[in-house]
Amino acid sequence: MSERILNPDLGFVKEVIKSGGESLKKCYQCATCSVVCNVTPDENPFPRKEMIQAQWGLKDELFRNPDIWLCHQCSDCTAYCPRGAKPGEVLNAIRKMSLQEFSVPGFLARMVNQPVFLLLLLAVPLAALLASGAGHVPAGPVEFGKPGGFLFSLKYIDPLFTSVAVLALLSLFLGIRKYWSAMSEGQSSSGKSPATDISLGTAIKETVKEILAHKRFDKCETTKGRSTAHKLVFYSFIGLFITTVLAFGKVILEPNGGYLAYLGHPVNVSASLLTGLVVVYKIIGNISAAALIIGILLVMGNRMKNAKKAGLGSYYDWLFISLVAGLGITGLLAELLRVGNMPAAYPVYVVHLCFVFFLFAYAPFSKMAHMFYRATAMVFEKKSGKA
């Protein structure tokens, strides 16, 4: 092997320790972790090498590698670690830091992951909603979506949320692109030629299949129940996404007060089609909401139950979990209050919208981004023939 000069970044080591990897330095490189891990590849397995890279402050080596995201934090490594070095927690801290490294703009990632900024970040959607007229409670029966209802009286709500969603997607795209080129660079500097026989399309298709089936998650042993909990939350998010798209479609198409009608281009949609649409998205929405709440409560329960073996998690984890739980609970509560025709539904709905905003506007910087980065790492792994 040729001579190589390592440049340890001590600031980075301290940052890992501060970010939930306080056990990092306990590692003595026995490699038990790499063996008990069921999701690691045989060639250059993780997380033993990540532990020494982190101890030595080799930031680039860590960030330019798909491995930190291929880790699903099963915590089998942490349970079997003879030193209590908690590789699972250390890698989680490094993942959080890699979000700060790649996401655009980076300062938002630092803000999202520091408790001091929480209120400020929450104040943004609240102020926007109030400015949009959310402080005004319409008279008459409690209604959100119907023409003339609450949502329709919020003047800027749809343009605001839509543009925030577009910005978030753009930011995610830029972050992921940075991560991808960093990984490519890392691979070419390590001298291993990438396998070329798998196309990007195939790699993406295979990754999506794998994620839908939660194949890797199912290999976790120490934290077995996590796969079920995660599946519930994951599929409920898909369900809620479909619900949102359908509901948005209805709001656009509605001949009586819909956007197109408002803009002077009403479309001729039959009333029965619209009613059918409403029935379908209400069913999907309610099932998804129930699955979301059950799933996220299971996530919380699992975390508490496994805290001793796997660690409780950090602010980065709990912020995300709390947001998802808050989203589900306020959503359901707002619905119940509306059905009960109680005006308290309005403020609850505003809180719900704040959660929605927080989750999606800050998605590129919070743990919400894990799905994109992990999926990217999986695609890269397949494309480079590492798997």
Binding site: Q29, A31, T32, S34, V35, P41, E43, P45, C81, P82
Partner: protein, 423 residues
């Protein structure tokens, strides 16, 4: 009338050394040993490191010194029941379990041949059986049979009695209580092999040809279950490809947080057993760090340079059954960064040592570490702990420690060290 003596709890190499050294200096000594024989763990070893001589030689010398010295009294199958301090000495009650065979025994084996019942041979870690009337091992001291009453019921003992021409079998032997007034107490309770089946990824008790290092000692010992031939347990095949898994339970917070000190040397030593019997065999030693303290390093170099012996840095963290009763081990070779799966004929787990006081703490007002080792600074005046009751040690260090404790206990006996004196 209570026996006046220096009490030595434990008749292994440490206890024997302390007792004999004090007795040869002219002091009365009582040894209390829970096994039916003296010699402890050392009696189970095939060879000592680094000289590779059989421990029975050393033990025999000690047995002779005891035989020739009227000042040493010993109780086998005995355990300390209670200890109370009195005027610079200790009143000790010892319970002696019935052996059912008295001192008329000439070790003719007639009772064993007549005995219809069997028992697991714990001296060989269950790798063989003996009849319920048995001699613990061929050079046992005292050279006297024992009847395992729990495994010899319903007229079984009667058959042993009838077979004995010397009237040595006593069916109505009862537990006895012995009173001792001890001027000093030497705690030499020794160690137990750590129960490595608790590490559920290392296969002990689940994977057929996984054994512990102490089992390897018995397999290689001429008086062991295979008469000294190293054969793997499942089918008696000669193992030609053997793995040694270091730190099996040691340096592991989930098991024993400390280094057991002797396991690296034990595996290196056992590699020489293997190579001696099967020169074409290969030994793979998987380690985190090879720890051969002090001059033992030279022994490491010697074994390292043997043909067919290889060392791989990386802890084995998965052990499974594979075809033909072979054993599959998985590790990450840390130096190459690759996950390695290798099949072996047999796998030896270098299981650590834990102080016997972890399972059976003594009621002496002692503090123990979280893992049951005696904290020496917590010992009361006149009580001394030696050898592996305090920390994992090898035989040589135990003997040195015990010799020092003999002097300390003599000082206590002649009241040079009053209450609160130096410990």
């Amino acid at each position: 009338m209570a026996e006046q003596c220096i009490l030595v709890i434990g008749g292994g190499i440490s206890g024997l050394t302390a007792a004999i050294e004090a007795a040869e200096a002219g002091y009365d000594v009582c040894i209390v040993e829970k096994n039916p024989y003296l010699g402890g763990r050392v009696a189970q070893l095939n060879k000592y490191f680094p000289k590779l001589c059989p421990p029975v030689c050393g033990l025999e010398i000690n047995y002779r010194r005891i035989k020739e010295n009227a000042k040493v009294k010993f109780y086998t199958m005995a355990q300390v029941e209670s200890v109370t301090a009195r005027e610079g000495s200790y009143d000790v009650t010892v319970k002696v379990a019935p052996r059912y065979i008295n001192d008329r025994c000439v070790s003719c084996d007639a009772c064993a041949q007549a005995c219809p019942a069997e028992r697991q041979d714990d001296f060989n870690f269950g790798m063989s059986k003996t009849t319920a009337a048995y001699l613990p091992f061929d050079q046992a001291y005292p050279m006297r049979y024992v009847i395992d009453a729990a495994n010899c019921k319903d007229g079984c003992m009667q058959k042993c009695k009838e077979a004995c021409k010397y009237g040595a079998v006593e069916l109505d032997m009862k537990p006895e209580t012995v009173k001792i007034n001890a001027s000093a107490i030497v705690v030499a309770t020794g160690w137990d092999p750590y129960d490595i089946s608790k590490a559920d990824n290392l296969g002990m008790g689940k994977v057929k040809n996984v054994i512990t290092n102490m089992m390897m000692e018995r397999l290689a010992a001429p008086n062991g279950p295979t008469a000294g031939r190293i054969l793997r347990p499942s089918d008696g095949k000669e193992p030609k490809k053997v793995a040694f898994v270091q730190c099996a339970g040691s340096r592991d917070e989930n098991h024993l947080s400390y280094c057991s000190y002797i396991c690296c040397m034990a595996s290196l030593k056992q590699t020489t057993y293997l190579k001696e019997q099967y020169p074409d065999a290969t030994a793979d030693i998987f380690y985190i760090d090879i720890r051969t303290p002090g001059r033992y390093e030279k022994f490491y170099w010697k074994v390292r340079d043997m043909e067919g012996v290889s060392f791989t840095k990386g802890k084995v963290a998965r052990v499974e059954n594979t075809e033909g009763d072979d054993v599959l081990v998985t590790l990450e070779d840390v130096l190459s960064g690759k996950k390695v799966r290798m099949a072996f004929d047999m796998v030896v787990l270098a299981a650590g040592m834990q102080s016997a006081t972890r399972q059976n703490p003594l009621q002496l007002g002692i503090n123990y570490t979280a893992e049951g080792m005696i904290v020496p600074s917590s010992l009361k005046p006149g009580i001394y702990a030696v050898g592996s009751s305090k920390s994992p040690v090898d035989v040589a260090k135990s003997v040195q420690d015990a010799t020092g404790a003999a002097l300390r206990s003599i000082q206590s006996a002649i009241k040079l060290l009053p209450a609160g004196g130096i410990r």
